[in-house]
């Protein structure tokens, strides 16, 4: 349930970021806020996924469901790490753009 809410937050934040791209305001502070929102949502969703994985794994009879959940956990971790890299890139690009705006 929490994971569904987190997914919706990620979708909304991504849509807001796309609006900023269209308005050519992506290299501003507003975009940083939305990227942080995405990162927090992914983090919270992933943590609850890990908790569910531990619970399911401890009381499982067959390895099917825990294996599937493990794949999801690894996938979620990869996504989160990718978003961290993207956030760093966006911050660097914003700094560079702000600096370049004072160059004639």
């Amino acid at each position: 349930m929490l994971i569904v809410v987190c997914a919706q937050v990620v979708v909304v934040a991504t849509w807001r970021l796309l609006s900023l791209v269209r308005a050519d305001r992506i290299f501003s502070n507003a975009s940083g806020v939305w990227v942080d929102t995405i990162l927090w949502a992914i983090g919270i969703g992933w943590t609850s996924l890990v908790a569910m994985f531990v619970v399911v794994g401890l009381r499982a009879d067959d390895p099917g469901l825990p294996l599937l959940m493990f794949v999801l956990v690894v996938g979620g971790a990869a996504l989160g790490l990718l978003m961290i890299v993207m956030r760093g890139l966006l911050r660097r690009a914003t700094t560079l753009r702000t600096e370049m705006e004072t160059v004639i």
């Binding site: 600096e99 705006e101 004072t102 160059v103 004639i104």
Partner: protein
């Protein structure tokens, strides 16, 4: 900023407006930065274009102000 870009004298000498100057130099996006004196850097290519349009030397356009 301690280095000031002074184009007013040269513009007056050539009787050119700032807008016209900016268009000839190719500076349309940053005219405000130039006018308000908020420029923190000048590309050499821009400086070259400015000198060519105004027919002067870089030393005529840049001035060091000790503040």
């Amino acid at each position: 900023m301690s280095i000031v870009v002074r184009i007013d004298v040269e513009l007056a000498r050539r009787k050119m407006s700032v807008g016209e100057f900016a268009e000839k130099v190719g500076l349309t996006a940053n005219v405000a930065v130039l006018k308000n004196g908020r420029a923190k850097a000048v590309r050499l290519s821009t400086l070259e274009a400015m000198c060519r349009v105004l027919g002067c030397q870089p030393g005529d356009l840049l001035e060091w102000v000790d503040d």
